[in-house]
């Protein structure tokens, strides 16, 4: 039996503000197939379409053309909230993934019911609380004793770790990570990244991770794709990745795109 790919993007196109002076072609025919268990890192310059591609998968906006299917389900015309059942998401801004005015356990309970019908029964059960305490303890951030604390009181790193936990609490078919460590200080970023890798391995998740850190892009996952002007211009498989340095990657980029890589946040350290 042939296994169904977890994500198939076919020739996705998206232009923002068409017909105005602000017209921007964000995706110009992006195609990508992810197999079960693929952990793909995504790199590229400013405006290459990395985040736009993730948002197209999540359904934040309708695409102009092309088709998207997740775990064998055609979702091209589904609104964002109906795709949520298939997706776990962590955003760049730590504020985006959690509800600041609700407490930790309420945020987790919302995530535990991702994509399910919400009934008129009590929102959190005692059994769940025990599970959340256990899961929070595994983050090693001391959050397991703060189930009743408002999420707004947490630091950016704590919020991102919580969002990551929420995104994987109910097993997603596909995990979307949109530069989720970019807003954190280097030490915290490293911690969150380690946690990301750990969660993906433990749960054998399929993931798509945008990063501005070339080193991380090469070190993590089994595939790396590079985007440029709304297309995927490079797709490195595991073996190719392993033998590559950041310098090689930059060279490859220049060769394929015909220009130097520009990304304000790109960390070129080797």
């Amino acid at each position: 039996m042939r296994e169904e790919p977890m994500l198939v993007l076919r020739d996705i196109r998206k232009t923002f503000h068409p017909g105005t002076v602000m017209q921007t072609v964000a995706l110009a025919g992006a195609s990508l197939t992810l197999n079960r268990g693929d952990f793909v890192t995504v790199i590229g310059g400013n405006g290459a379409g990395k985040s736009t591609m993730l948002n197209a998968v999540a359904g934040t906006f309708p695409v102009d053309s092309g088709s998207i299917s997740i775990a064998g389900r055609e979702v091209t015309h589904l609104p964002e909230h109906r795709r949520a059942v298939l997706l776990g998401r962590v955003f760049q801004d730590p504020m985006t993934g959690t509800a600041a005015t609700m407490n930790i356990e309420e945020n987790l309970a919302l995530a535990a019911r991702r994509g399910e019908k919400r009934h008129l029964r009590w929102g959190i059960t005692q059994k769940e609380r025990a599970l959340y305490r256990e899961k929070l303890a595994s983050l090693d951030l001391g959050l397991e004793t703060r189930l009743g604390s408002k999420v707004g009181l947490l630091s950016g790193g704590q919020r991102q770790a919580l969002t990551l936990l929420m995104a994987t609490l109910k097993r997603p078919e596909l995990l979307l990570l949109d530069e989720h460590t970019a807003a954190l200080d280097p030490k915290t970023a490293e911690k969150v990244l380690t946690l990301t890798d750990q969660l993906i391995r433990e749960n054998e998740l399929t993931a798509l991770m945008v990063t501005h850190n070339m080193k991380d892009a090469l070190a993590l996952g089994n595939r790396t794709i590079m985007m440029h002007e709304g297309r995927i211009i490079l797709d490195l498989k595991e073996e190719e990745k392993r033998s590559m340095t950041v310098g090689d990657l930059l060279e490859q980029f220049e060769k394929t795109s015909g220009r130097k890589l520009d990304n304000d946040r790109m960390l070129l350290a080797t």
Binding site: A84, V85, K191
Partner: protein, 314 residues
């Protein structure tokens, strides 16, 4: 100035405060939970009064009339919700549109059975409709007839019901819609229908309050809801300023709103007693609410944000 005269006014102020408190809880749901300033309430408060009055004067039992008023208020909230979510009209404008439309609707409701088919005022004397739930006539008495008892009971039941509802899976989802719509959608919550549901619940409560107010004062008037949003906000803000630090629990926060409405009416009685003309009341209310709404803004400019600074360290 006669202090006895002021004290005489107090029970009435408490009763009025309790009735408006229910309206203010409705405002709390949109303003604080859904993060929408919903101006529908000026219209739906009067709609509640109009529906209750026309039904009671036609011999319908007051409880049934109140339920019908709630349904009418929910319908009004649904209209605002559809204007906002399905038609993309900004929430404030959507509320104003519904409020304006309701003025005509309320005239028509009150005009049912009249030759003109439209009426600005429906009188319903307690002498004639003896089974009305609350009446200001009994507010000074130490009997069970005193409307304050029933209002206390209804407020307690409503707060309990809201506490339960917003603690359910569905209710938690609605809170997420207001707290962070992007996160809510990522969790599979339809933020559009969530907002419509919240607006319906809110305006149902507001109409409930209007239906009680009409009975209490013995008439329904097409303009009885004018400025309701500001009174509701005043109650919410007074409650938060006084009890914000003390009351963390959701039920207690709603209780604070109700107490806020009572305090508002007590203060109103005092300033009237001090010689302010009733004509100037709305000006005073608007200015007081404006000052309190400005508080968080001023605070953030004067006092350094300690919490935010602390939050930047991982």
């Amino acid at each position: 100035m006669n202090i006895a005269q002021l004290l005489n006014q107090m029970p009435g102020a408490v009763a009025q405060g309790l009735i408006w408190g229910i309206m203010a809880i409705g405002v709390y749901i949109t303003f604080r939970i859904l993060d929408i300033a919903d101006l529908t309430v000026d219209g739906s408060f009067a709609t509640g009064g109009a529906v209750a009055a026309i039904l009671i004067t036609n011999g319908v039992h007051p409880w049934v009339a109140v339920l019908a008023a709630v349904a009418a208020g929910m319908a009004a909230g649904a209209v605002t919700g559809v204007f906002h979510t399905a038609m993309g009209i900004p929430a404030i404008l959507a509320g104003i549109l519904t409020q304006l439309a309701l003025y005509s609707v309320n005239l028509r409701i009150q005009g049912i059975g009249t030759d003109l088919g439209s009426r600005a005022n429906v009188p319903m004397s307690i002498n004639k409709y003896k089974n009305m739930l609350v009446s200001l006539r009994n507010v000074g008495q130490f009997t069970l007839e005193n409307p304050i008892w029933l209002m206390l009971l209804m407020t307690a039941i409503l707060i309990g019901a809201m506490y339960w509802f917003f603690g359910t899976e569905y209710g938690c989802g609605l809170r997420a819609v207001g707290a962070n719509p992007q996160m809510a959608r990522a969790q599979g919550i339809n933020t559009g229908t969530g907002k419509v549901a919240g607006l319906m619940i809110s305006n149902g409560l507001v109409a409930f309050s209007g239906a009680l107010m009409a009975q209490y004062q013995g008439f329904s008037d097409v303009s009885m809801g004018r400025g309701a949003i500001v009174i509701g906000l005043a109650a919410v803000i007074i409650g938060e300023v006084i009890f914000g630090k003390l009351f963390r629990n959701f039920a207690l926060r709603l209780l604070a709103v109700s107490i806020g409405a009572i305090i508002y009416y007590l203060v109103i009685q005092v300033v009237l007693w001090l010689g302010l003309s009733t004509d100037d009341l709305k000006l005073l209310t608007a200015l007081v609410v404006a000052v309190f709404l400005a508080m968080p803004h001023w605070k953030s400019r004067i006092i350094p944000r300690k919490r935010k600074e602390a939050g930047q360290h991982a």
